[in-house]
């Protein structure tokens, strides 16, 4: 199992007045090479679950093994190191830095790895060509269209060659054709052996034929209808 969660709980601000129980008792396992969709209403805990799978923070309790590493009790530094080796993130608002160029945005994850500018550019070039944004290489990311932005985000998620791709509401800011295109790219990636987890309440996503499995979340629990 590439992702194995056992009885995972996440409590924000534990022990304080503003304590929030975002996840409780989540059991979930995902095989390598599958594509999973998390769906659920707003505030149900999708993003929180994705953050735990994405090694952004450890679960408050329970066990979470991601790409062969047990996350419980792992200090922030090691979560980060594991995250940059195993996870590619695609965010709802794409989270690009508008003043940097497309190339610079795509290669951001490689800087702390000590990879030389030449190799960085080479890697990015292959991805940009594949995603059809090579002609935008030196454009500031703030000046390109939404569809291109989406591809930049995908390229950035792939640049460190992670086995797992996570996407949080990737289609929320895209129109229907672009959303279809996005799912098509995801399908390709899955065919290459990537494991993909998408959190979305967009039917275009969770009813897409490439999705192997849907998991519904409600109030921080996996909802079995």
């Amino acid at each position: 199992m590439l992702i194995a969660l056992e009885n995972v709980c996440k409590i924000y601000n534990q022990g304080q007045a503003n304590e929030v129980r975002a996840l409780s008792g989540i059991d979930l396992s995902v095989e390598a090479g599958s594509m999973l969709c998390l769906k659920g209403p707003s505030g149900s805990g999708k993003s929180t679950l994705l953050a735990i799978i994405g090694c952004v923070f450890p679960p408050t309790s329970g066990r979470a093994a991601i790409a062969g590493k047990q996350l419980a009790r792992l200090p922030d530094r090691f979560l980060t190191i594991h995250r940059r080796e195993s996870i590619g993130f695609i965010f709802q608002k794409f989270n690009v830095l508008p003043e940097l160029t497309v190339l610079e945005n795509i290669t951001l994850p490689l800087l702390p790895l000590g990879i030389s500018p030449r190799e960085r550019r080479q890697r990015a070039k292959t991805l940009m060509e594949r995603l059809g944004i090579a002609h935008r290489e030196n454009f500031p990311a703030g000046q390109i269209s939404g569809g291109e932005l989406q591809r930049v985000a995908i390229a950035r998620a792939l640049i460190n060659r992670p086995p797992i791709i996570l996407a949080d509401e990737p289609t929320a800011h895209l129109d229907t054709p672009l959303s279809r295109e996005f799912m098509a790219i995801m399908q390709q990636l899955q065919a290459e052996g990537k494991t993909i987890v998408i959190a979305s309440h967009d039917p275009l996503v969770f009813e897409h034929p490439a999705i192997d499995r849907q998991v519904a979340i409600q109030d921080g629990r996996i909802h079995v209808p």
């Binding site: 534990q14 923070f57 530094r77």
Partner: protein
């Protein structure tokens, strides 16, 4: 002599170091009290963030320590212009009972900061942060030392009066006429040189053996050897090496080496010696934490690095210290 640019700079650096130390010790107290790696509380999360603050502060502390050590020697050299009988830093340092202690404390401070940073680097390489408590206990112990450093320095500056009469390197380290007192008298040049050569050769030998196969006992004697070698090397620099650098048999001074007149020869000389000493002395003691979870490989690779580093720097240091002597032998004394 507070109203002098050098005194003011030293005092400013001292105050800055104290301020950084105070912030770091606040983190240390919080870590010692509340650290709980298993917890997911906001406090633990902020503590994990504060580790980076304290380590940055300590790295800055080391940088400041290096700067102030250098500044202190240069300041003493400047003070010499205003103190009767003082020609260079030696004279001004001896002009007050606090001069030499301040220098020594600053020198030791260099190593203490260095060891802390080493401990920190080892600690953050293990997922369990096994040294976090000892690291911060150590940091707290460093604070009184820092206070001692700054107060000695302040006492030294305050105690300097232009009308103090002192003696300078010519008298202090020079060859003694009968009856005159000499700080390093009694030890003959040849004896010193032989001891120095033997010591460096045996350190190099131990390092080579250690690089072939690690033996804990040998490692300990290597580290202790470095502990003894450091003062010996300082004495040899003062009494033998320096006069060949100055090309004057009676000019013996450990500080003038740092002046532009001698092309800052002292910088690489002392730099290689101190760094080699740091590596050498830390090689064996790091073995003490080898048994902590997740540290075995990290410690092993550091120990090899330390032995390699100290060996390389020892060679550089020895080369530098023999350079002027050999030049003197080959070219003759006129240089």
């Amino acid at each position: 002599m507070f109203l002098n640019p050098w005194s003011i700079a030293l005092t400013l650096c001292g105050l800055l170091a104290l301020a950084l130390g105070a912030v770091a010790s606040r983190t240390a107290l919080r870590v010692l009290r509340f650290w709980d790696l298993g917890s997911d509380s906001n406090r633990q999360i902020s503590l994990e963030g504060e580790i980076w603050l304290s380590s940055t502060l300590m790295a800055y502390g080391l940088g400041f320590q290096i700067v102030t050590l250098f500044l202190f020697v240069l300041a003493a050299d400047q003070f010499a212009q205003a103190i009767a009988g003082a020609m260079c830093a030696t004279g001004s340092l001896l002009a007050s009972p606090y001069g030499v202690p301040t220098l020594l404390v600053k020198l030791c401070g260099l190593f203490f900061y260095g060891f802390w940073l080493l401990l920190h680097q080892l600690d953050i390489r293990s997922e369990h942060y096994p040294l976090v408590r000892s690291k911060y206990l150590y940091l707290l112990l460093l604070i009184p030392f820092l206070v001692l450093d700054v107060s000695l320095q302040t006492l030294y500056i305050a105690g300097l009066k232009p009308d103090i009469i002192t003696s300078c390197c010519g008298v202090v380290f020079g060859s003694t006429a009968a009856g005159e007192s000499n700080l390093l008298g009694g030890s003959s040049r040849h004896g010193l040189l032989i001891a120095f050569s033997l010591a460096s050769l045996s350190l190099a030998g131990m390092a080579t053996i250690l690089l072939r196969r690690w033996r804990p006992r040998l490692a300990w004697s290597y580290s202790l050897g470095w502990l003894c070698f450091l003062p010996l090397a300082l004495v040899v620099i003062t009494t033998v090496v320096s006069s060949y650098v100055y090309a004057m048999p009676y000019h013996k001074c450990p500080f003038c080496l740092l002046k532009p007149e001698y092309h800052y020869f002292g910088l690489p000389l002392y730099g290689s010696l101190l760094l080699a000493g740091f590596f050498g002395m830390s090689a064996a003691p790091t073995g003490l934490v080898r048994s902590k979870p997740g540290l075995a490989r990290v410690v092993d690779s550091y120990q090899r690095l330390a032995v390699k580093g100290s060996l390389l720097l020892l060679v550089i240091f020895a080369g530098l210290s023999w350079y002027h002597f050999l030049k003197y032998l080959l070219v003759g004394g006129e240089g």
